[in-house]
Assembly symmetry: C2
Homo-oligomer: 427 residues x 2
């Protein structure tokens, strides 16, 4: 039986989960993979959680683990981009493969870290960094290795999907749903990273680079979160046959690659529409295999730890052996497809004054900008603002920008800024 | 760049697809995987389809390919269990890894073939054998390598899923939907293999063995197809909030492993219910990662060929190299969990005579056998038989068998044999 010695850095929710699994699933790893994974070092700044789960001494000197001769693979689970960066860098330079769940680190410093891994002939595995227990990295890299990707898009943040699900099922407004998510531990005290789409943006940039084999920089991403959504948008969308999801979307066209994170109206019969609560999902479209989707638990200690352990098994079994081909993570920079030229359909909610001629003025501006209306909905209302909800046909995003900016300046008819949410493109 | 030389045996729909992809996606394979896959031999008994797709000479001597010194991996795509068996056996004995899409062969002769592969230090890859383009083998083996499986179940046959989808959407009876499937090339002239669940049974036996690491023999499977379903069952299920799917199901309990193929009432809000037409899907439940699902195209030339090529890339890149751990495909025989002890809920359609007391007699027999009724539906009807539709609570399968057999013998009230379809267990 092959023996691999690992050093764990970080013993929070996921790290503790891994400590549990290393013990509980030892027989699975041994029997199924003919592999004996031995934990030889643990470092954490919060030893309390780890202590009951290991008999090893626990050090707070996180860098020491990366230099030990009895460690073959370092598992980095501290998160963040400062200490974690030092740990991963040091491990790679000491010719140790690294397994990490740190999407922020890879999204921001991946280019450098993957290069250093390559220079040192080691691997940097990150299955657990995207979509928790869903094995999307292996799916893109191995399962669909032969496929030419056209689109990859997904529900990549469990917190926002939970909030959106609750807003719909409980008819809550955004802040009530956020508060509930915080109480249940699905959202941080400062939820910005999740609710403003930054976490999803880190993840789609990683998936996109892997699918298209061109580096999609985080800074090239157009990112929009869910914090401005109101319950009226959730319910009006539902009545129109859609469910709002925060999607990370990346698509290739002849103009380049366009990668975005934004709330999206997904048709109720699309598989992404039915991924609820804290679940994650990744949908793909390829030339050869058509469309497909993979869904599962996107967060949580044990689910994410299971992805870390699967990654450990994978690299332990198959890599660092003579004759194998190292994984490629270094891609040429992608050409960004211009956003304004992108064709999209929109849900537009105009908050208008209650007076004659409003709809005519809005329709005139849309028409002037080449935007054709697919449906209009205005319900009788006793108080202002009156919601006029328009679903459009496809037009260039730049034209929407121009129209909305023009309409929002008309204080004679508009009371609050227009809410504009894209519809899912035809996938 | 690593060079791998392959010999292709069989150039039907999938084989021709592979010939196209080897050409069209050569750059993807090279750039993404640093791998040059060279076709060095083609054998087929129907050379006409292959001729325009390769400049190589085409031989009809299929065994010759397995013996050539310029072939590293043999791709077997002829199907069936006779010639294909000879080809795979000969290749393995000549120490060549084999990639196959042949579920029937592996289901029937897998035990022997995997053993011979192991003895010869080569690999036998079969990603394309289950669920077409869906990378379920890689997902079970690598992506979820650390997980303890509780249930694996899926829509594994595109033909039957297409027929069921059409029966619902077009309100067709079974024979009309089958005829349409045959016209569109989704069903064979003799559809037995698909519609009686045999193909799905081959596939679930392979998945089950891999997930539970215990061999589930084809002969241990309880297999029931869709040919007896009537459109009234499709529509009545829908009214009750379910959609009928042909599922392959395998679940582990303390009593052993129970593996079955049968039509199943799936709640409409379950992800499996929304996998329509010729798509396939595999749903899993694990201790660590909870539930998840992977879906995509389950058949077709290019989708299946893409799975063959992904498998080729995988084994070419990572295997047959010093230090790697060979994949394990040899499992101890599973203990079969007794069917009659399994708890299930049922949809029962009794075809009764139109006379008083019928429901009372049926209910009495069910009650006597410990089967409790959850709902009853009987619509006014002008002609016999009158359909009495009962959905039950959970009870032992053996009790259902006893009850139905007793009821069906009561010619005083029953006109046709009772239709009994299981509900999806709580997953």
């Amino acid at each position: 039986m092959k023996q691999i010695r690992i050093g764990l850095v970080g013993a929070g929710v996921v790290g503790s989960g891994l400590l549990q699994l290393l013990e509980k699933n030892k027989h699975i790893v041994q029997n199924r993979n003919n592999l004996d994974i031995q934990l030889t070092a643990v470092a954490t700044r919060t030893p309390k959680r780890a202590q009951p789960l290991t008999s090893l001494p626990i050090t707070s000197d996180v860098l020491s683990v990366t230099k030990r001769s009895d460690v073959d693979i370092v598992v980095e689970l501290i998160g963040g981009t400062t200490t974690a960066y030092d740990v991963v860098l040091s491990a790679l330079k000491n010719k140790k493969s690294v397994i990490t769940a740190n999407k922020a680190l890879l999204s921001e410093k991946g280019e450098e870290l993957f290069r250093i891994a390559k220079e040192n002939g080691v691997e940097l595995g990150y299955e657990a960094a995207v979509a928790g227990s869903i094995p999307i990295i292996r799916t893109l890299r191995d399962g669909l290795a032969s496929c030419e990707f056209e689109v990859i898009c997904g529900i990549l943040n469990g917190t926002t999907n939970f909030i959106l699900s609750q807003m719909e099922s409980e008819n809550w407004d955004y802040s009530t749903a956020l508060k509930k998510a915080q109480e249940l531990g699905f959202a941080e005290a400062d939820p910005t990273f999740d609710v403003e789409g930054i976490d999803a943006a880190h993840k789609i940039s990683l998936l996109s680079s892997l699918a298209f084999q061109e580096k999609v920089s985080f800074s090239d991403l157009q990112v929009e979160g869910i914090s401005k959504l109101q319950s009226v948008d959730i319910s009006a969308s539902k009545n129109l046959g859609y469910r709002i999801k925060l999607l990370g979307i990346s698509k290739r066209s002849s103009a380049g690659i366009l990668t975005k994170v934004h709330p999206t109206l997904v048709p109720l019969n699309h598989p992404l529409a039915n991924v609820m609560k804290e679940s994650n999902a990744v949908f793909y479209k390829t030339v050869e295999a058509g469309t497909g989707m993979i869904t599962g638990k996107g967060a949580g200690g044990l689910p994410t730890a299971s992805a870390v352990l699967s990654d450990l098994i994978y690299y332990s079994s198959r890599f660092g052996v003579a004759g194998s081909i190292p994984e490629n993570n270094i891609f040429p920079k992608s050409k960004k497809s211009p956003e304004k030229e992108n064709e999209a359909r929109y849900y537009l909610r105009f908050s208008t004054l209650d007076k004659p001629g409003v709809l005519a003025e809005i329709a005139a501006i849309l028409g002037k900008n080449g935007i054709s209306i697919a449906s209009v909905q205005q319900k009788e209302s006793e108080k202002e603002p009156v919601n006029v909800i328009v679903v459009t046909h496809s037009a260039k995003e730049g034209n929407f920008e121009t129209s909305i900016s023009e309409i929002d300046q008309m204080s004679s008819i508009i009371k609050e800024k227009t809410v504009a949410i894209r519809l899912l493109e035809n996938l």
